[in-house]
Symmetry: D2
Subunit: 349 residues, 4 copies
């Protein structure tokens, strides 16, 4: 039995973690951490869990938590995990951080984009970027996981084969992403009220969203050189789901291949990956087909008029974009089948 603790258990990502872990027989959530609701029944916050747990929310004392659990998930605002974690904690419990604190290797880049002083820069190098499809082996032996951001996960898995094979000119890459509103978190802000979000769509964080350097860093590893991109997220009136539509010019190498040839590379890259589904023919990914699951659906369309690839990916931001991926990482870290607790058929409608 794996004993787990969640800091930030009453946010949306924390709630999804709790929901997925509570359905497992081999994991016990020992600690539901929630600064806002300390002392209250967890099910008074998330009534869906009523009768599935009788836990009471506790503080975010990570040191004490490390005494009681084997793995700690931090589903908290940027900066908190870095301010709490330390060597002693890591010597007792594995830590999977769903915030951005350990995703970016260059601390100055982190501090510039996040406008925060990093509280534990000495741990950045050790942290493993928890994208199992890329870093599976490193994850297995990691103590500290930087669970990837939702947009970066969907973008990177969609673009990776082309980037790795040098088939697109990454200096032309433009990522236009669309997200459901759960990605905005559970904070009580006017901008996230029902009537403000419903029946509207908008871009936000244009040319300044903090997932930009994370995407760039991962793409630069794939490409073997620095990458600078345009990334524009949009807010969509739906609960869950991320759709990425990305555009890039084909390289000369790519132009020698047929559209089928390029598609075949996707099949080769992902044929062993349970959670990446390369769609048939010209089927476009749609977020409805992945809701509640750990899948990323990807496809590409080669536009022969413009010699560009249009690359598309769809994903549930709460699952593969947050809690599901964190559990995938936990499974790897504990030597379990990677898909345990994640064999979830998407729910439709």
């Amino acid at each position: 039995m794996i004993r787990a603790g969640i800091i930030g258990a009453t946010g949306y990502a924390g709630g999804e973690l709790a929901r997925l872990l509570l359905q497992r027989d081999d994991v016990e959530i020992k600690w539901f951490g929630s600064k806002s609701y300390t002392g209250q029944d967890y099910t008074s916050v998330y009534q869906n869990m009523y009768q599935l747990t009788d836990a009471v929310c506790r503080s975010d004392d990570m040191e004490q938590m490390a005494e009681e659990v084997d793995v700690i998930f931090t589903a908290t605002p940027q900066g908190l995990c870095a301010s709490l974690v330390n060597e002693e904690i890591l010597s007792k419990a594995k830590v999977i951080d769903l915030s951005a604190d350990f995703r970016i290797k260059d601390v100055s880049v982190y501090e510039q984009w996040y406008q925060l002083k990093h509280a534990a820069p000495e741990l950045i190098q050790e942290a493993v970027y928890g994208l199992p499809e890329i870093n599976r082996e490193k994850i297995k032996s990691a103590r500290l996981i930087a669970n990837p951001g939702c947009y970066p996960t969907c973008t990177f898995l969609s673009v990776y084969p082309l980037a790795k094979e040098g088939l697109i000119d990454l200096s032309t890459l433009i990522v236009d992403a669309k997200s459901g509103t759960s990605g905005a978190g559970r904070g009580a802000k006017t901008a996230n009220l029902y009537c403000e979000v419903n029946e509207s769509i908008k871009a936000y964080g244009v040319a300044s969203h903090r997932h930009t350097p994370e995407i760039e860093e991962q793409l630069s590893y794939a490409a073997g050189k620095p990458v600078t991109i345009n990334f524009t997220p949009h807010l969509v009136p739906m609960d869950r789901g991320i759709l990425v539509t990305a555009y890039a010019s084909l390289t000369e190498n790519a132009k020698k291949l047929s559209a089928e040839g390029i598609k075949e590379i996707y099949h080769q890259y992902y044929k062993e990956e349970r959670f990446v589904r390369v769609l048939k023919d010209d089927t476009c990914p749609e977020t409805r087909w992945v809701k509640g699951s750990n899948f990323v659906d990807v496809n590409i369309k080669i536009d022969s008029r413009t010699n560009r690839a249009v690359i598309m990916g769809a994903m549930d931001n709460m699952v593969k974009g947050a809690a599901g991926q964190a559990i995938q990482n936990m499974n790897l870290m504990f030597g379990l089948p990677e898909d345990r607790g994640l064999r979830l058929a998407p729910m439709f409608p």
Copy 2:
């Protein structure tokens, strides 16, 4: 391994059955029946199942299906199951009918409300009304299950303890119900287009909805006398969920009890029922807290100003109101734990 067949596998209820059964290790779907999509890949219709099955849709030949499977689910329009099922089929396979064909014992009532000639009246008496919380033992030995309607399930489980204990005057019972749009089915009708349903609410089938006699029949068994009610369903701009708000005058017996005393009766009735959750204090059921699960959440409020009980129930119409309840019945019929494959924590948001 239970071999299952679904007639109507490309409707919403059929799709939910497929989704839930495909996640089980002890059931194999041998036959995805779909008149509209015969010969096409099932996942070309329900892309969420991509890579989870490679089944091709087949006809609705129930006789052939009975040769190949142990249990047949019919998730089809009224009249179809009755027109196909017969003694020989029942001798080979168990049948769980999600349509209304075998729910109503008095065939003349069925024919009047449904405006259909019943094609198999000789099987009506044998059919068991598949509400496990009430008819558990009969279900275990049944060959033919009339899986309850969505509104009747939610209404009946919400009202049952009061009806059974004689605490409300059933002649005053008014049931005002609200349903998500998946209940309207997947047929291509203008009235169910996105722009017609979105941003609106309406009543429909006022004083004429066909679930009325089904609710009345079940309530009359509980009360030991005929019951006539008002039942008004409403269409709500959401995918899933049914909320029932019912009103009835308290009887003299009830007035002798405190509100807590009446609530305690609910706890007594449902304390062993995994899928009925009696909420705490004055917490109102909300459909968001049961989405994707087999739960019915119920609560009551005694209004001392009017001496009425306000009775509320919330449920996922696709799960406890259709596919989940059908699987609950299947589990009972095959001697399996009743909740196998149904230990689903509600998904939020």
Copy 3:
């Protein structure tokens, strides 16, 4: 030119008032009051008004406002208007209060349901309940209007002919109402976040909602005797719209009439009313057909099985339920055509 001031101009009802008044040539909004946004551009809050006004938000100083305007609208939380208004203000400007402060004649009833000490009880008797279809003449000469609540407006206009004619037993009246989320206001509360409201429906304020005594009081005037009812509002995932479904037993007088005869009474009552539309035949009101307009659509269905009337009304809670009705009252108070600025065709979809 009528000079108008709005206290609470950055709430939803205040925003709707501004939107409707800004489209008129004969009204000038001189004062956009907003405690939260004082000093900020109005269009920084409501970007829809960009380039339509360059107003800056001001305080809620009603005394100063009365010096500058002819009519003051208060679209504010309960208690504020009563705490600000006084004889001197009323001597200078007409006041239309969209809160509940002056709707209930019995101050003790107000104080009990609203849990507030009334700050200006001496003005309650003078205030006119601003439902033009009932109190048109009194409104014309009023200084202080209690603009009706959204639920009471829709309920009362739907039920009124039956109540007035003694065709229903008001002791059996049950009002089940459903509202869009704009009715919950623009305050930043977790419960009103997009992901909390979307894809769900719930009852709230069961047996305790503060519009209950307002409905009861108005019905008692129509019936000529005290009325006690059950009223249950529900929150629906849509921006605008209220649907009322009400149930009552027919009196002996009503049973002598045919359904058509009862319907004819509705036509008689409302034939001169521009904003009340009695629908044809069995057409059910739907909120989509009134969105953005000042209409209330009503219809009834007589259920001969239960001898009850099912009474339905649909309305835009922001227009006829708030800002539109306030303007209708303003028009009457200033001797203008009652429908000026309100000849709005409902927007669909």
Copy 4:
């Protein structure tokens, strides 16, 4: 009094035309054409218009219509207008075609993208592309208007100043657009059912959408040379609204300018345009702020990291993207103030 006829009056764009025209005193709709509903009350289809008209739907006999009206709007599928219109009709009535039949000057391009034989190629040259902000003078004297597509209107007005001034490299232009579901029309298709659209987002028509050549043609006029672009539309779960996010590399000329300098060009281009609002500072357009109005809100963001412009535009696809623009054209053609009937403040929420 202008007498108007609408062919396709029961589609969404036709309904919006009817709604806007019915609110005018100087226009009378003499003919509500609807092939599907001929002979039925118009308000039985669009209940929002109940009591605002008692019209009965008529056929799409354009010849007869031309005898009875001054202006004909065709809000119909591609190909119909071209098959009906002729010199005689144009000699009697002005025609404003909301379909694509006369938007593209090169008939072979039209026939290739629309997969239709053009039935009236001889009229293409005469037809004026009805974008008043560009072709105002030509519109005034036109007999036949090709009312622009929704995506092209929003895209072109957003990009125009940069294209015209040579500030972006149009060969790098990528247009990622998002539309509400009313754009998909009122046909009864499974793909447009509530449960299929709700809670999802998808791209469609990737590298093949028929608005692509229309955008390219208009941009090529602005740029003075041929333009080839990527255009990707997406379907968003909302009724109304289009958001365009476009990306293009800055030219050397542009790099010499500051971001403010480029923005200033927008202000210059649109300072006299009532319906194009250049937003302040970095405010992003959002579709909620233009709903129900004829506005296009635009803004740009210069990304100095990539030397690209991110260009954004938001618009109501039913108004400026269809019916509103058609009325704007009508006003010009009849010598009326261009904004008559279109001084609509956007409705929020």
